[in-house]
């Protein structure tokens, strides 16, 4: 897999293939176990209930994993080789949320040696609220 989106067809304003994910407490717990991040805001209902979030929230890095998943689907192994992203966490993702990860190509910079693709990415919940927004750059 070199680049799932054909290089010759990449153009500005092109949308990346969206992915949808449902957040469950089970996912959050599995992620906590896999990464050994047992911050109680993610896994302890009693603790989380008494925070401003009033319940558990997903790890920010779990949500970022979904963004990375979309980029892998779009750009294949190129995403691993040389890429960069800069994201902000805006709203927590909670159990029961359905997240939509999307992206759009904002610019393409090509010279003799390489092509850089710049994209805006976002992850929104079912209310349309931004969970994560950011910019990514991939060398293809």
């Amino acid at each position: 897999m070199e680049c799932n989106l054909p290089l010759s067809q990449l153009k500005k304003e092109m949308k990346l293939p969206e992915i949808k994910k449902k957040i469950t407490q089970e996912n959050i717990n599995l992620y906590a176990q896999a990464t050994r991040d047992f911050n109680p805001i993610h896994v302890n209902q009693n603790f989380a209930r008494n925070t401003p979030f009033q319940g558990t929230i997903a790890h920010g890095m779990l949500v970022l994993a979904y963004v990375s998943q979309m980029m892998t689907a779009a750009f294949g192994r190129k995403w691993f080789d040389s890429s960069q992203f800069d994201v902000r966490f805006k709203t927590p993702a909670r159990p029961g949320d359905i997240l939509t990860v999307s992206g759009i190509i904002k610019d393409i910079d090509t010279n003799k040696e390489r092509t850089l693709v710049f994209c805006d990415v976002s992850c929104r919940n079912q209310k349309g609220e931004p969970v994560v927004i950011g910019e990514v750059r991939v060398q293809v």
Binding site: K21, A34, H59, G60, M61, Q69, R77, Q84
Partner: protein, 138 residues
């Protein structure tokens, strides 16, 4: 991952370098990660490549193994640059440094820069991560 002696958040100052942590990215760790994020795409089925965000997640874990952060700390911002593939069984070294520490009323912001190297000394990932901590941080 070896357990390190932890330093309290309050002792951290801008420029403080946390001890580098080395660990092997075991296939079982990658499999557990892929299961947790429900990712079963081609690059992982046909190779022993590690998802770059798995490498980043384990780096976050390595960092949090070095610092006493209060319960309830959350991420606010992240910058990550991937510059090389990581494979199962690679031995990773994660080094980090405090780049920003702000106290604004009840809100405390901590930003760490980190670099991740493979066993050959090549940088495979680097980035910056910011956390918000609560008032009564340890």
């Amino acid at each position: 991952m070896k357990k390190q002696e932890k330093i309290s958040y309050k002792q951290l100052e801008v420029g403080y370098e946390l001890p580098c942590i080395n660990y092997e990215l075991k296939p079982s760790m990658i499999n557990a990660y892929l299961k947790a994020v429900e990712e079963d795409e081609e690059p992982y089925r046909s190779s022993n490549l590690a998802p770059p965000m798995a490498v980043a997640a384990y780096a976050m874990n390595a960092i949090s193994d070095s610092v006493i952060l209060p319960p309830g700390v959350i991420h606010t911002h992240g910058e990550i640059e991937f510059s090389g593939k990581v494979k199962a069984s690679d031995v990773i070294s994660c080094c980090s440094k405090v780049s920003q520490k702000l106290d604004r009323g009840n809100v405390h912001l901590l930003t760490l820069d980190f670099s991740i190297f493979n066993q050959n000394g090549g940088v495979v990932l680097k980035g910056k991560t910011s956390f918000i901590l609560s008032e009564n941080s340890d």
